[in-house]
């Protein structure tokens, strides 16, 4: 297992260097001088111009530039952003990345959980009327043209019903005399969400082994209530009570995007779970479980769904890559200032250093996700685990 991991790690490092080189060559292939818009920007002082030339080695031959780019990547030095001049690309990415990650990890967890539940029920009720209708619904939400759907949601809930704000990250009027910056508040939110979801996870892990379904449900319910009580005491005491107003503003802006993306994203998991679950249900051991006289619910949840979970979990880890992909659309429709909007803006305005930096960062994120997916798949699937040990 360890050897397999190390081997994969080295392969990944090679793939990553290849990715860096290819992404540099891609930008280099832009006709004309990719950096020419630099000359036209009156906001940039001569130092910035010099700095960019040095950082990217623009007066050197191609292979030296590639080398320089790789070295600079590890130093985190990409010169200056053209459009946001005194700020550097790394600075901008550090600001935007948490927002994207926060929004989409919440979406993914919710979508994964509901998708798994729906898929389980779909496979179990094969052939019934409700199965057909839920399948049609999931196929619709799986294939719906996402920007159109998001705009419709924005129109209906944001404009017509006026329940939610029309995009954006916060309401500026509320923040005029705020003692905190929005980033500080946002980090508090991130820590809060991480800790509470970790506690939730712990509750589920510890109650997993309670045999009686009735008891387990009760214990989980108790745990949830105490978690809510804990959260309430946190937000009403100390400094958090002052931050509460601003945090609520950001959270309010997150509801509609989260809801929309979840509606679209859960269907993929549901359809996948349905397929794997149906294959599992044909297996002999399910028949054995039936013959033993176990209750239907127990067979479904304990015997079938457990085995069907494996491919679904890996697909869940793979979705980290699609998070980044999908973020571009969601963020440009809901005006959520994250990575996706940053890269779209950079490409449209030909802000080359920023585009390069964000593209490489997205790449490295995807690479890490891919690596984790691979290793965890090997860890979860005994067939691969045993094969690699021999």
């Amino acid at each position: 297992m360890l050897i397999y991991t190390i081997k994969r790690f080295f392969e990944m490092v090679i793939v990553f260097f290849l990715f860096l080189v290819i992404s540099y060559l891609l930008f280099n292939a832009i006709p004309g001088n990719a950096f020419s818009s630099l000359l036209l920007n009156p906001l940039l002082p001569p130092e910035a111009y010099q700095k960019t030339i040095e950082a990217f080695g623009l007066d050197k031959p191609l292979y030296e530039r590639v080398q320089l780019y790789i070295i600079n990547f590890f130093k985190g030095d990409f010169g200056y952003s053209y459009t946001y001049y005194p700020r550097t690309p790394i600075d901008l990415i550090a600001e935007r990345l948490p927002r994207t990650l926060m929004l989409f990890s919440i979406v993914n967890v919710i979508a994964f959980y509901t998708g798994f539940l729906v898929g389980k029920i779909l496979a179990w009720r094969r052939g019934s009327k409700s199965e057909t209708w839920i399948t049609i619904g999931s196929v619709f939400s799986y294939t719906v043209f996402y920007p159109w759907f998001a705009l419709m949601m924005l129109w209906f809930f944001g404009y017509k019903m006026d329940w939610f704000p029309l995009g954006k990250f916060l309401v500026p009027e509320k923040w005029y005399d705020s003692p905190y910056t929005s980033d500080e508040i946002f980090y508090t939110l991130i820590i809060f969400v991480t800790v509470s979801s970790f506690l939730l996870f712990l509750i589920f892990i510890f109650t997993r082994n309670i045999e009686s379904l009735q008891n387990r449900r009760n214990v989980r319910f108790l745990g949830l209530i105490s978690l809510f009580a804990l959260a309430a005491t946190y937000w009403t005491n100390g400094e958090a009570a002052l931050k509460r107003f601003y945090a609520a503003d950001i959270a309010y802006h997150m509801i509609l995007p989260t809801f929309t993306v979840t509606l679209v994203a859960f269907a993929g998991t549901a359809l996948l779970t349905r397929t794997t679950m149906m294959e599992v249900l044909k297996d002999d051991y399910i028949l054995t479980a039936r013959a033993k006289g176990l209750s239907q619910k127990r067979i479904r949840d304990r015997h079938a769904a457990r085995t069907a979970l494996l491919p679904v979990v890996t697909s869940f880890i793979f979705t980290i890559i699609t998070i980044i992909d999908g973020s571009v659309l969601t963020e440009s429709i809901f005006s959520w200032p994250g990575m996706g909007q940053l890269i779209l803006e950079a490409v449209v305005q030909e802000d080359i250093p920023l585009a390069m930096a964000s593209f490489s960062f997205i790449g490295i994120l995807a690479l890490i996700a891919h690596f984790i997916a691979d290793v965890s798949y090997a860890f979860l699937d005994p067939r691969i685990r045993i094969k690699s040990e021999n």
């Binding site: 619709f140 799986y142 920007p147 159109w148 294959e279 659309l329 440009s332 790449g363």
Partner: protein, 354 residues
């Protein structure tokens, strides 16, 4: 003699598979949707050639038709809501015109008169089945043009993608060793490329036309994850006894690969092809929705136009600008997906009901 036998065999298999496919209701639904849009795509050139449709009026990009519509003159109130109008957006209604607007152009009318004028976007009528857009172009004709684009793009990219991935996947399984390692790492690299940002960057320096995009999407899809899946399928075929017997009887490597292994991988490849059409149609629409594609008309552009011209937040008042295009993308992509599901039932015997 031999040829006839083979032909009869193929016919029999097709008949059997069709029978299986017919059993899946979702698959048939999908096929109906796909055939419907295919019909729309073919219908437009026929209508133009037979002069049933005049190009000057119905052309999806340069056509123009100003529809004369008689509308009642009304005066919009200052305060809302009133009995007739709930909000400011409701007045004037589609068949009404505001008197203040006409007064601004020095047109003398009274409230309650009938005023005839050109309307754009015009609501659906017998002349324009789905109305016209804000430039007086026929929406139904645009939908037809969009389905041509979608079919062209989807099919080209799917054929390229499946061709590449089937060849590479089979080769990786059959030859193994260094080639296998290289191909797997390559598909890792392609898999980790964030597709949309990658397409943005390409669109930044190349004027992307439909067939350029088809080639790019096909190549990306062909080098990516499908190689891995097809390789695993080919590995299962490779250890079957008939491959061994072919080798013993002296079949060359290339012959074994092309005439024994490839046909057995083909059903899975077909399945991939159908599913990848869904992705291709969605990516095209997304790119033209963001205004990054250099094409005249497509479903994505129709939505892009209705958004940039501000019709999207008028809700259902101008529904013919918003709903048909979005539904068309959704339905065609869903149709291909459902066909794929139907084929899945045919080629995956484990999932069959009996």
């Amino acid at each position: 003699m031999d040829n006839q036998n083979v032909e009869r065999d193929i016919k029999a298999t097709l008949k059997k598979n069709w029978k299986l496919f017919k059993q899946s209701r979702l698959g048939i639904t999908g096929l109906t949707i796909v055939i419907f849009f295919g019909f729309l795509a073919i219908l437009q050139p026929i209508l133009f050639l037979t002069n049933i449709w005049d190009e000057a009026t119905y052309h999806p990009v340069v056509g123009y038709d100003a529809e004369q519509v008689a509308r009642t003159v009304v005066e919009c109130p200052d305060q809302y809501p009133t009995r007739e109008y709930q909000t400011k957006e409701d007045c004037p209604k589609v068949d009404e015109v505001n008197i203040r607007y006409l007064k601004a152009f020095n047109i003398q009318v009274e409230v309650g008169d009938i005023y005839e004028s050109n309307v754009q976007p015009a609501p659906p009528s017998s002349r324009h089945l789905l109305g016209t857009d804000s430039l007086g172009r026929d929406i139904f004709s645009q939908i037809m043009e969009g389905s041509q684009v979608a079919f062209l793009l989807g099919l080209i990219s799917a054929i390229i993608g499946v061709g590449i991935s089937t060849l590479l996947g089979t080769a990786a399984a059959f030859y193994g060793g260094k080639l296998d390692t290289y191909l797997m790492r390559q598909s890792d690299l392609v898999l980790m490329l964030p597709t949309l940002p990658f397409l943005f960057i390409i669109s930044a320096f190349a004027e992307l036309k439909v067939w350029h995009l088809a080639i790019v999407l096909g190549t990306l899809g062909g080098l990516g994850g499908s190689v891995i899946t097809i390789k695993s399928q080919a590995l299962q075929v490779k250890v079957k006894p008939f491959v061994d017997s072919a080798r013993i009887t002296g079949g060359s490597k290339r012959r074994i690969m092309f005439s024994h292994i490839l046909p057995n991988v083909a059903p899975l490849a077909l399945l991939y092809m159908v599913f990848s059409v869904t992705g291709a149609i969605a990516s095209e629409s997304v790119l033209s929705f963001l205004g990054l594609l250099n094409i005249d008309m497509s479903w994505g552009i129709m939505i892009y136009l209705s958004q940039t011209e501000g019709f999207i937040f008028t809700g259902l008042k101008y529904w013919w600008l918003i709903v048909p295009a979005g539904l068309a993308v959704t339905l065609l992509a869903g149709g291909f997906y459902l066909v794929g599901r139907g084929l899945d039932d045919v080629f995956n015997p484990r999932l069959r009901r009996r």
